[in-house]
């Protein structure tokens, strides 16, 4: 099967005056469809930068990036946005729900940007509410929810368009352990259902939910290891 993501010699540089700082260096990475990958590393290693490039939110980098065989590095902004909208969902550490919108309306946001017709939109949101057991919260505003509930809505929002890939940046960073586990179980279920997940985390426990751990340091990939739960079918890059 064709890899979901292929990165070749990917580099990210920022310039500060005469100096250049490499945030990412010669990243070569393949991620298969259905994989659950964890990116770990100390602060400043480049984890979130890598996630934003994979999520196509950041376009200022060099190297080759193939998404389902499509050369992202050759796409213009519009095409890249379309690819992103069609395939990727985000989950953030701080949930980033929109304060002035209800749970229902927050779930509607990604659908509205994909011009999903109103009827279908309502149906999709209702499905998601049902699936994540938050029907009772649909009219509440984010500040009326607990952190765990907010992240649940955040995940529901990320998957509402059934993306092929979910990118999660420290998804349990602001949650207590019970809530964190609940979210990780949710990710596992989604992964079992076929969604590829890439998470950034500092937590070994969270990492154990995935198949593979990629360690970053100073912008370099320093190691790749399979976790105990890794499935035999997942092929690891050399």
């Amino acid at each position: 099967m064709e890899p979901l993501i292929q990165l070749r010699n990917l580099e990210k540089v920022v310039e500060a005056g005469p100096n250049k700082f490499f945030l990412l260096r010669r990243i070569n990475l393949d991620i298969q469809q259905g994989e659950f990958v964890t990116i770990m590393g100390p602060s400043g290693a480049g984890k979130s930068t890598l996630l934003s490039i994979i999520g196509m939110l950041d376009g200022a980098w060099s190297g080759d990036y193939f998404f389902l065989g499509e050369a992202v590095h050759k796409l213009n902004v519009k095409k890249r946005n379309e690819l992103h909208k069609a395939n990727i969902g985000f989950v953030f550490q701080s949930y980033h729900l929109i304060d002035n919108l209800t749970v229902f309306e927050n779930l509607e946001v990604p659908l509205s940007y994909k011009n999903v017709p109103h009827k279908e939109r309502v149906s999709l949101v209702c499905d998601a509410l049902d699936r994540f057991h938050i029907v009772g919260k649909k009219d509440l505003f984010p500040n009326q929810l607990s952190g765990g509930q907010q992240q649940l809505v955040g995940v529901a929002r990320a998957v509402i368009l059934s993306p092929k890939l979910i990118l999660a940046d420290e998804p349990t960073g602001n949650l207590h352990s019970a809530q964190g586990e609940e979210i990780m179980e949710l990710f596992k279920k989604l992964n079992d259902a076929g969604t590829t997940i890439i998470q950034v985390t500092h937590s070994e426990r969270n990492a154990s939910y995935g198949h593979r751990i990629i360690q970053l340091k100073d912008g370099w990939v320093v190691s790749e290891t399979a976790t105990a739960g890794a499935r035999a079918t997942v092929s690891h890059p050399a």
Binding site: S48, S52, L57, K78, N81, F90, H96, P110, Y113, K114
Partner: protein, 814 residues
Amino acid sequence: MHALWQDVRYGLRMLAKNPGFTAIAVITLAVGIGANAAIFSVVDAVLLKPLPFSEPDRLVSVSGRDLRNGEKGRALSYPDFADLRAQTRTLESVAAFDQSNFTVTGNGEPQQLQGGIVSADLFTVLRASPIIGRVFVSADDQPGTRVVLLSHSIWKSRFGGDPNIQGKTIQLDERAYTIVGVMPPQFQFPVNAEPMDLWTTMAVEMVNLGGDKPMTEERGAHFLGAIGRLKAGVTLEQANADTGNIAAGLEKQFPDTDGHLSMAVQPQIEALVGDIRPVLLLVLGAVGILLLIACANSANLLLARAAGRQREMAIRSSLGAGGGRIVRQLLTESVLLSIGGGTLGLFLAVWGTRLLASLPSVQIPRLAGATVNSAALLFTLVVSICAGILFGLAPALHVLRFDLFQSLKESGRTATEGVGRSRIRSLLVISEVSLAVVLLIGASLLLESMVRLTRVPPGFDPHGVLVFNVSLPSVRYGKPEQSADFYAQLLERLRAMPGVKSASGVEPLPLSDDIIRTSFQIEGHPVPRSEEARTQFRTIGLNYFQTMRIPLLSGRDFTARDDRHAAPVVIINQTLARKFFPNEDPIGKHIKPGVSAAGPSLMREIVGVAGDVKHRNLWQQADPESYVPYDQVPLGTLYVTVRTEGDPLALLPAVREQVKVLDTELPVYGARPMEKYLADSVAQRKFTSLLCTVFAGAGLLLAIIGLFGVVSYSVEQRTQELGVRVAMGAEKADILQLVIGHGMGMTLVGIVFGLAGTLAISWLLKSQLFGISPTDPLTFLGVACLLSVVAFAACYIPARRASRVDPMVALRYE
């Protein structure tokens, strides 16, 4: 007290620490408060300041009222005035007055002076005393007496402030008048007129000049103003009943001249400024709205700043500050800001008031006396403090409603603005836009009226016409044929001058505020005299219609053959023809206007019909009108009209020379282009519309700054949200739409409220409009579109910034 002082010190330090914020808030408030203080100064000087006489509340104006059409403010005849004076039981004293020009000769160059012709008891009514000599006594009113009181300024300029002036004589119109006294510098009467140089008594009107009865014996000659002093304890209603009874008696006694006429009193101040009151109140309303917009703007600025100071307030609260203490601290800062705005506004007001008071030809009584006085200072202080509390209260109370302790614990996870504060800010912007709509529609309607008014054809062509007067002393020109001969010669000489196309004369001049109205009979349609129709009356020189380019619609113009020996003739205007000769040709018919220079009035043959001329002003319909040749009715002095080939005023020196050739003693005065009369006739309306436009422009600017500020601030506050939206798939256009939609949403709601508000109060404008309805849909639509476009531009700038938000930067805010 100590705590308050501490608040003030802390407030000043906070304002100094944020110079940008402070400057914007102070300037915004200065515009609002300054405009209010300036207009208040004008209102105070024109409407509120009591008349400069003893017990001014008891001074009343007495005038005639036409019972047929309700027309008020008509002049009185001298016999009617004399009967009023004799019969009144409610007026302690009453005096009559008129104005005239006098030529002073001897003791220097001939000079044209403005004089008041008053009944001797005027100074008793006003309780005014001279600084030298005496005021008039009743003996001074007797025919043959010629006495004069000098104004302070003419005493100083013409007589060098001679302390022994009393008893000396002065040559006025070549007759000797005895100077009986000098009035103090601040004395001015009539108050609304150009300052008088001197006053003389009714005795000058009692002279029989042309073999006819003097004006003071003509009960039908209404030419006098009257002022009275109410007896102590008498109300206006009682005085009105009294004068009404007297008038009713006169009507019975003299049905021919006093039929359908009554008399009414009104406070003198009302007679003086009654007409201008709605105009000034309108302008005051406009600046009041401007101040509200400025307050809303400042409140918005404070709200934005309050968001940044939430932590500070939380710390103060945790250290034991009660809610009241925090509100006081915040209110102290807002009042400090408004006092700063008030101080700067005061400078603007002083400048603005000087500018307004110096505007020539605005024709607002007492405007020249407008200054920023202690009343205006007090007004500014009160407005500043009230404004400070008004715009400071909402942000201060909002801080109280916030969970202050919670904000100490918050890590900034919900950095976006709270719903409550956002709502208040939006409400403030909506209010600003609504108020700006009201101002803009008002100003647009006034401007449109002005434009339409200036497009009204006056019925003549004022371009290139020079107008001037020559004062003819009655000693040498008192007989009708003397003045007629003088003008005939003068016009002959003027017509021969190079650069002159034609020359003529008229009395009274169109748009000059002078008016002669008379009743007239139509031959073959006898009616009682009291039922006779009325016409405006003008006596004109040869070629008048040609000089003024008034079209002659039928018949012929006057010729040299229509002299004093020829059959009496008249030219009527279109309105008179249409109204009194419907469906028939008036040429050859006869009418008898009740005016003559000497002897009885005559039946005159209508020889022509001229086009209508807007004689009173541009916004009123033309009255029925009759023109007669000056040679047949030589009434007093003519306004000489000269159509020139170039700049009319450039011809003035040559004109003076021609007058001098005829008579070296005659001064030329009142020389102005005819266009100036036209401009002056709309000056007051222009003043109102321009003032309101300036204030509306300022209001629009403030409202748009407010909108821009709110949208910019909201973009800043929503950076994270915008980043999330981009991460969720929002494109540039989506973000633009979101931000502009937010701003335009507020604008549209504001516009709707503004339109509704304007509809509700538009009737207030009705009296100031011309040719346009106060609910003119095009104006409403135009203002809505203008505001939408400007608001769109104001929203687009922050929206563009928002659309460039880098989602990763936005998300890293955490």
